[in-house]
């Protein structure tokens, strides 16, 4: 018995340590995203053909390239630091957009019922059946890529879960409080939704948002990988993966480091998301 307890305590401590690490990673990347390339050791756009494809630890003209240089001599570490901004900003905006639209649509459908529900289910089913990437590539392939276009396209791929969760949650709340709502008819539908429904579904929406953020980051990397991402002066993480593909066997640092950055960010987000879900899940509340 004592062994079991000891094991669960170690697990708990490990879990806490892992969570702490995840939070640290998120905070660091968040700060980097806000400050852009302020914390980059070198100018990420600085090219040097004499110092191209150099391995980690190479000493260049302006300092040591801790993670090596890319095909036109840019410092990989600085590129990764600079890449945090597009990764988080684009994904963050997309998730915010998807969340707002999805939640509004879902809540409305849940409250009104009837034909709106049918419409919602119809639209979401069609969209879910359509492979996201094909849709994204088609849209961005026709129109010139830009920040707003990419945000819109990723939001398009993320809004459905928000609508569905908002819808199912709203139905439950409305069923429970319907009688009271009839008395509170002084407000418009919108006010009722905003004041009474939204605060109750918010915890689940927030948890959903964190997981959606991870998905959005991978989507953004995927779009950059095929050349349809946000146009930036220096390559984003996804673009770095794409550019490094030709050199995987001769200059592995071009792909390993940005790939690891994407992995680390999404992992940290998922760990925090899970913890958030554990916190907000009423069934588990007693255990922690």
């Amino acid at each position: 018995m004592t062994e079991a307890v000891a094991r669960s305590i170690t697990r708990l401590r490990l879990n806490r340590a892992v969570l702490a690490l995840a939070v640290v990673v998120l905070v660091v990347l968040g700060v980097l995203a806000i400050t852009g390339d302020a914390f980059a050791p070198m100018d990420p756009a600085q090219q040097s053909l004499r110092a191209r494809l150099k391995p980690p630890g190479f000493e260049g003209r302006t300092g040591i390239h801790w993670l090596g240089t890319d095909a036109v001599g840019r410092d990989i570490l600085s590129l990764i630091v600079a890449g945090a901004c597009p990764a988080l900003l684009v994904s963050g905006l997309a998730v915010a957009l998807a969340g707002i639209i999805g939640v509004l649509v879902g809540m409305f459908a849940g409250f009104r019922g009837g034909r709106m529900v049918d419409l919602l289910l119809y639209v979401t089913n069609i969209q879910l059946a359509f492979p996201f990437f094909l849709l994204a590539v088609t849209i961005v392939g026709i129109v010139r890529p830009s920040v707003s276009l990419v945000v819109f396209v990723i939001a398009l791929g993320c809004w459905v879960p928000f609508a569905r969760v908002a819808y199912s949650e709203t139905i439950q709340i409305v069923e429970q409080e319907y009688i009271e709502a009839v008395h509170v008819m002084q407000g418009t539908t919108f006010r009722i939704l905003l004041r009474h429904v939204l605060p109750n579904i918010l915890p689940n929406i927030i948890v959903l948002a964190t997981f959606a953020l991870g998905t959005a980051i991978v989507m953004e990397s995927g779009l950059s990988f095929v050349g349809l991402g946000v146009p930036t002066r220096t390559p984003t993480w996804g673009k770095m993966l794409s550019e490094g593909r030709d050199y995987m066997q001769t200059a592995w640092w071009l792909t390993i480091f940005p790939g690891f950055a994407i992995f680390l960010l999404v992992l940290a987000i998922n760990i925090c998301g899970e913890r958030l879900r554990d916190i907000t899940d009423p069934k588990l509340m007693g255990r922690s």
Binding site: Q47, L49, G227
Partner: protein, 520 residues
């Protein structure tokens, strides 16, 4: 354990076991013998190309990958001597200028198509007339527009008459770099088959014929046993398509293929150091030109073009990205070209001059298109160029396009303000420049009357020395007008298994018939 052994024993007769093994052994031994005998007699070269095949009708296609296959199956009237660059007999035994506008060619006797029918003058007439058939939209049409009539004098004599004297016509019709390359097809064969069948069932006079083609997977060529010329060493060629660079190189190093096209520079060392493969390089690769769209703003202004040219450190760029496999050129043609003027130097790197020239005009914002993977390190070239342009006041927003779409835009003159295209100057004549500088060419974004006037004169001049003089003047004019901001030539790089060797005389022309087997 005991139960298992007893089951085994009861399941098989004791005597059968040694007999089975003996028979098996004999069968294996004999099959290995016949296998190795068969293999020893047949030399197979497995080639991995970097792109897919489109269509194998030489009248219609000028696509690089299609050409690799078509050059093994079809032949032209004349070919180029690799050392002197002179035209040499091929399907035509001899040729002469009968009068300033009439070429007379005498065909080789005894040449047969793969289906056994003989090559005659009627086939030559048919081929050229088919290319000139406007309804078909042949890729080579624009290069043969000077031809007014083709006449059959007898079975082995053809006369080609031109509207005006065209001294370069014969040279344009041969296969190397020739945009007007004329592969002779069989009149009877073409009249019997539909256009769809013709793109899938090529039939020519060449050293190899089509065995089988599984679209998207592989294509097999076998030796033409009745070939009129020297028998090649390679009996069979199996062509596969591996567009992904690293996959293609790995296929060579793991002995899955014997030859790869377009070996990336980054992998040259790996191949050199491998035990089973080596590098084959030719300096006569594509000539890359950084073309400026001078038909529209901002590059319709000479000073902006000049500023663009001086903003680029082309020598450092070529040295850094291509190393020993690239060289900067001062004029937009290959050094092998007869009229190449080596006295004209590439533009200097002078960003301060650029800034001065652009005073009051900056920032110049441009939306551009770029290619990625079409030419050697093109993605890197574009990145370096865009960054260097930023330093002097251009702000470039690039978008990468897939090549098929990009070339379509270029052909309608909407490929963007500037881009890189590579040209094969293998035919050795300056008139190739017309493809991208003459107003009438679909791919030209230079609409300059002065240039057109000069090259029209050069086109009609039959005296070789006078022609060269005119072309030298053209080169000086181009240099002063900054239509082409940078020029460099990249070596053609191939990876070869140590089982074969090849001397790449003409960079882009991969001829199976020239492969030599190496005793291991």
């Amino acid at each position: 354990m005991e139960t298992q052994t007893s089951e085994w024993r009861t399941g098989m007769s004791f005597k059968a076991i040694p007999t089975t093994f003996l028979t098996l052994g004999l069968v294996l031994a004999s099959s290995t013998l016949t296998c190795s005998e068969a293999w020893a007699q047949k030399t197979v070269a497995r080639v991995a190309l970097s792109g897919g095949l489109d269509r194998l009708d030489p009248i219609m296609s000028a696509n690089g990958t299609d050409l690799v296959i078509m050059t093994q199956i079809y032949e032209t009237l004349l070919k180029l001597d690799p050392k002197t660059g002179e035209l040499k007999p091929n399907l035509a035994e001899s040729y002469r200028l009968k009068s300033p506008t009439v070429w007379e060619l005498k065909l080789r006797k005894g040449v047969k198509f793969h289906d056994g029918t003989p090559l005659t003058a009627a086939d030559v007439k048919y081929t050229i007339e088919r290319i000139l058939n406007k309804d078909l939209a042949s890729a080579h049409y624009s290069q043969l527009t000077t031809v007014s009539e083709v006449r059959v004098i007898d079975d082995y004599t053809v006369e080609i008459e031109t509207k005006k004297p065209d001294p370069v016509l014969m040279r344009r019709m041969q296969p190397i770099g020739g945009s007007g390359r004329v592969f002779i097809v069989s009149k009877a064969y073409y009249e019997k088959h539909s256009p769809e069948e013709l793109t899938n069932l090529p039939m020519g006079t060449g050293p190899y014929k089509l065995d089988k083609w599984q679209k998207g997977a592989s294509l097999t060529l076998v030796k033409n046993e009745d070939y009129w010329g020297e028998a090649p060493e390679v009996d069979e060629g199996v062509f596969t398509f591996i567009p992904e660079n690293s996959t293609r190189v790995n296929a060579l190093l793991q002995n899955e293929v014997d030859v790869i096209q377009r070996l990336p520079i980054a992998d040259v060392e790996r191949v050199k150091q491998s035990k089973n493969a080596h590098v084959v390089a030719s300096p006569n690769g594509l000539v890359h030109t950084l073309l400026l769209d001078s038909s529209k703003p901002p590059f319709n202004d000479l000073n902006v073009r000049k500023a663009f040219a001086y903003a680029l450190d082309t020598s450092e760029m070529v040295e850094g990205l291509l190393g020993e496999y690239g060289r900067v050129l001062g004029v937009p043609m290959g050094p092998n070209v007869l009229q190449f003027d080596s006295s004209i130097k590439p533009y200097e790197y002078d960003p301060e001059l650029s800034k001065k020239l652009l005073q009051g005009k900056t920032p110049i914002k441009l939306d551009t298109f770029t290619s990625d993977g079409r030419y050697v390190n093109d993605r890197d070239f574009y990145q370096v160029v865009n960054e260097q342009l930023k330093q002097v006041g251009f702000e470039i927003t690039p978008q990468t396009l897939e090549w098929g779409r990009f070339i379509n835009l270029m052909q309608s003159r909407s490929g963007g303000p500037f881009y890189i295209i590579g040209w094969d100057f293998g035919e050795g004549d300056a008139s190739k420049m017309n493809s991208f500088l003459q107003s009438s060419s679909a791919l030209s974004v230079t609409q300059d009357a002065e240039y057109d006037r000069h090259v029209a004169l050069a086109g009609e001049e039959t005296d070789e020395a006078k022609r060269t003089e005119i072309w030298k003047q053209v080169q000086k004019y181009l240099h002063d007008q900054y239509f082409v901001a940078a020029v460099w030539q990249a070596s053609s790089l191939y990876g070869f298994s140590n089982k074969f060797d090849w001397v790449a005389n003409f960079g882009e022309n991969l001829a199976l018939s020239e492969f030599k087997t190496v005793k291991q």
